[in-house]
Amino acid sequence: MDRRVAVIGIGTTGFRAASPEVSYREMIYEAAVKAYSDAGLAPDQIGSFIACSEDISEGTSIFDEYCPDQIGGARRPVHSVSGDGLHGIITAAMNIQTGLFETALVECHSKVSNCIDPVEIMNYALDPIYNRPLGEHPEFIAGLEMRRYLYESKAQPKDCAAVVQKNRAHALKNPWAAYPANLELEEIQDSPATFDPLREIDRAHHADGASVVILASADWVKKNRVKNPVWVKGMGWISEDPGLEMRPWGRSIATQKAAKMAYKQAGIRSPRSEIDFAEVDDTYSYKELQHLEDLWFFPLGGAAKAVRSGLTRSDGKFPVNVSGGCLGMGNAAEASGLQRVLEIVTQLRGEAGVRQLKRVRQAVAQSWRGIPTTSCAVAVLSKGVNS
């Protein structure tokens, strides 16, 4: 059996700081209709439906109840995964690989503008016995992690500022982005520290949006002569220690392991030379640097040098977050991971317009589940089956 799986359809509303004119249902419906249209499919041609969400972010317990209607999944096999959009892609791919389904659909969205206090929601994720009773802002964790990362990698806060500058500038060319900006390095560096060394501006702002991706088996792709499939060649996902006390703080071990897993499946030996560009988690600026190193693209400390030299700019040799990333597009929770897949598919298809990268065949998407977790997911996406 041919176990390969490809992305055959994408749809997104794009990300915005708020979306007051639509309910979550109406927002997701728009993304789903676009994805169906892109794939040339109708809902009854989908085998399995996967939605990624978290109860408390929605303000609804067992939110999976509300997932089927707006994706065309009512009375069909639908299930929720409390994971990032990449976990959704991985789930859909596994569903197809069983041979039980030929196609699967993944939906992620964010309506974080509807949460009165997103900080409190993040705080509610902290360990209730050892960490939450301190009563501090949960982003202290990013402050702790950033300092340790800088210490181990010898990167500088200004390198993190360069990430902010780059990604927000990338977003200028992305109509889906909520936070495009043309910033001077100095103004970023001068931005006040919240959880020192973390600055307010190192943090991605929240965004609303919905994205939908449709996947299919290789047989289906062949049978239906899909003209621009993007193959999911490798998938990896790992959870490390959810507790803060026993984990190492400088590196993302989960990303390292997840990347190895994905590269092994994809037959990649030398990530830096075999991958053309990457869309990685940059919820906080330092995370982009850390994740690039843990994805084995650079040695420890190498990512800072890369951003300094412009290597990771859209016009550099190894573009990173050409979409604008979370810093430029906005942090749309689970949808951020799915959006990385959308960006890669768009680029590999050659449909990225003004931000189109040249001669790209293979890319990596990586996600992190956010504070206080260590969970990460990695996917290798490729234009050709053998590239």
Binding site: S61, I129, L134, F140, R147
Partner: protein, 157 residues
């Protein structure tokens, strides 16, 4: 007059307010109970040890996450360790600035692989260095209730 049409006037935008009304009660668990009793009654730190993996857990767990053996070896740990990282908090949870910034540190406790996250006290921010030795300061026995707040913070050892 269809639903296909969108809201075009901000006067018509509407949201519906609500909440998830609940309160949670958390037991400390089997390991946590013993750990916090140790702090409360004797101002000491207790860890659990997995001999197979050569790991000492702090906070203690009843299982080793590496090999999944049940842990029954409890060890006394010195209430001191090395600062692995720290952050200076300039604002509280609501985003209001602190008049005096607070400092949180992650202190890797000696003779264990574990750590505690707590306030660093008695040091100017610019004097704090990764790797420095710190010791835990406990509240007086009458003030201790069996929680992480029975520790006031860490001070230079």
């Amino acid at each position: 007059m269809g639903v296909l049409e969108k809201i075009t006037s901000n006067q018509e935008l509407r949201s519906w307010p609500g909440e998830i009304p609940l309160e949670n009660l958390y037991t400390m668990g089997l390991a946590g109970e013993r750990f916090f009793r140790g702090i409360k009654d004797e101002a000491k730190l207790l860890g659990t040890r997995c001999k197979t993996c050569d790991v000492t857990y702090l906070p203690p767990r009843i299982y080793c996450q590496g090999c999944f053996e049940k842990l029954v070896n409890w060890v006394d740990l010195p209430p001191q360790g090395k600062l692995e990282t720290f952050t200076i908090l300039n604002q509280d949870r609501a985003g209001r600035p602190y008049k005096t910034p607070r400092i949180l540190g992650l202190v890797r406790i000696d003779r264990s692989e574990g750590a505690l996250i707590h306030y660093i006290q008695g040091l100017e921010p610019q004097k704090i260095r990764i790797g420095m030795k710190l010791k835990a300061q406990f509240r007086s026995s009458s003030e201790r209730k069996g929680s992480i707040q029975d520790i006031v913070g860490f001070v230079p050892a």
